[in-house]
Amino acid sequence: MMKAKRVDPFFWVAIFSTVTVVLFILFPLIEMITQPTFNDLAETVKDRDVLRSIWLSIYSSGIAALISFLVGTPFAYLLARKEFRGKKLVESIIDLPIMIPHPVIGIAILGLAGRDHWLGQAMQSIGIQIMGTVTGIVTVLTFVGLPFYVNTVKTGFESIPVRLENVSRSLGASLTGTFLRVTFPLAWRSMIVGIILCCARAISEFGAVVIVAYHPMIAPVMIYERFTAYGLAYSQPVAVWLILVCLVLFLLLRIFSLPKEHKA
């Protein structure tokens, strides 16, 4: 007699969880994207304020990612390659921006940049204004995005065998030469992934930005403002446009960073 194949109950639990999680994430987003009519979307995209806010979001996040790349890369390299006293502490400090409530970050930065603080006074004397400026927005976005860049790139560096760098040095290349000719060509994909994650985190920031710079309005702040002032229907089209633009940008970056050789 044939025996029916018994499937472990855990298999069904896993299937159920997968479906639930995917629906939980997709359902609200799909609903939001499909609710505005084409007309709404077309109207919204003609609105200069909307375009400006989306552009500001992308561009300030991009600058935050660029700053993260410039200062975060050498820092991540140090963390990946060197053992030193207090390394665990430094690594936890890097993770702090991920844990702190976002408005608290905004308040902390404002506290430094205000007229009551010597740093704020110093910055104002050379013409740097944080409150209500793009500089302020970029500062906040870098603060929240940097940990994602550093952690990703650190893992990328760690996956490159130290021996490759050792061999390069033994062949006569300096530390810089070795970094440029061996480490960077092997790590740039993880840098792109780091930039994507950093940008993604920066674009989604709201709580800290709203405290430091309500104006000029980045897209999340504008969506929030339209929601509180005019309601759901008015805020949705802006949100849809933000999601679409980000999706395209991240997709492009992903494609660009895919490994070339996938020959059969």
Binding site: V167, S170, L171, S174, L186
Partner: protein, 345 residues
């Protein structure tokens, strides 16, 4: 010439200490030791990749202790090849040339010669990701030698290879060393490799040097029980010497060149203990009565364990001898050991 003077390296709880070595120009020197003895640490210290706590490193009389790796002129070949995965074979090999100002035509000729010697010409444009172990190791060798280092360090270059590639690369190393005249310092845990390739060697154990000397010398005359065991000596016993005799419990063996009195060790290679059907006596020979305990086939030969009194000796026989002498378990036999074959230390 490389000189290591009282080298001391401390790294995450492990210490390599009191390393004093001098290696002649053009020599093939072996640093031998079990896994975890500190061999690789010594190599990386010479190459400038592990910081040293104390001591000095001199190459051709120049103190290089505080120089960065790129200024030392010391090449390194790792067991896992460490080829640059983003470069092709040729770009790997010529990687270091730009840092060594030299006549371009001359460099090119040298690289051509190396690639030719190592059979790499047909592979020049290939990606290093698609190479076999043997090919990868040949590329790594060519890359290290292309810049004409004053010393080439080899970190277990044969360990990761399949047996047939291992033999091939072993031959290549021997031939290349003879032809390029560069000092080779190779780390290995395999005594057979040391015997085949090395001229002189040092045995390192738990971070310290146990013995230094010519390969033949260390093989014939190990100076500590550890080295004796490591070079394949069996039958190592703690003994008490008394006027030309070594006492192992109640057994007495005549030995040569022993101290008049005191404690020490003896070691006898299995092949130097001869099994006989009948007693023979001669000057300079120890004759013992024994019983066969165990016969184990080891490929082309047999390991035979025999007991005399409480002492068990390990010896060996070819298959034909085994059959001819009808050596079987529990059989009574005679053993002869020449006094000169008993190594005293």
């Amino acid at each position: 010439m490389i000189r290591l003077e009282s080298l001391r390296i401390e790294l995450s709880g492990f210490t390599v200490h009191d390393i004093d070595l001098s290696i002649d120009d053009g020599e093939f020197f072996m640093l031998l030791g079990p896994t975890g003895a500190g061999k690789t640490l010594v190599l990386e210290a010479i190459a400038g990749m592990s910081p040293i706590t104390d001591g000095r490193i001199l190459v051709k009389g120049r103190d290089i202790t505080s120089l960065p790796p790129e200024a030392r002129g010391i090449g390194i070949v790792y067991q896992d090849y460490a080829l640059f995965p983003h470069l092709c074979v040729l770009d790997n090999i010529t990687y270091g040339l730009r840092y060594h100002r030299k006549d371009d035509a001359e460099s090119e000729k040298w690289v051509q010669w190396l690639m030719d010697q190592l059979g790499l010409m047909p592979l020049a444009e290939r990606s290093v990701k698609n190479l076999s172990g043997g090919e990868s190791q040949r590329v790594a060798l060519a890359r290290a030698l292309a810049v004409n280092p004053s010393v080439l360090l080899l970190d277990e270059p044969l360990s990761a290879l399949d047996p047939n590639f291992r033999e091939e690369i072993r031959e290549v190393l021997k031939r290349l060393h003879k032809e390029v005249g560069i000092t080779f310092l190779m780390v290995t845990h395999d005594f057979a490799e040391a015997l085949f390739l090395g001229e002189r060697m040092a045995v390192i154990h738990q971070g310290g040097l146990e013995q230094t000397g010519s390969v033949a010398d260390v093989f014939q005359r190990p100076s500590t029980p550890f080295v004796a065991e490591f070079v394949g000596m069996k039958n190592i016993f703690q003994v008490v010497f008394d006027k030309g005799t070594a006492h192992i419990e109640e057994l007495a063996l005549k030995v040569e060149a022993a101290p008049a009195k005191g404690h020490g060790h003896i070691a006898i290679r299995p092949e130097d203990i001869v099994i006989r059907k009948e007693a023979v006596s001669d000057n300079g020979i120890n004759l013992l009565q024994a019983k066969v305990l165990n016969v184990i086939q080891r490929g082309p030969y047999y390991e035979v364990f025999v007991r005399t009194g409480k002492i068990v000796f390990q010896t060996m026989l070819s298959k034909s001898d085994l059959i001819e002498m009808t050596v079987t378990e529990t059989r009574d036999v005679y053993l002869t050991i020449r006094t000169s074959d008993i190594h005293v230390f």
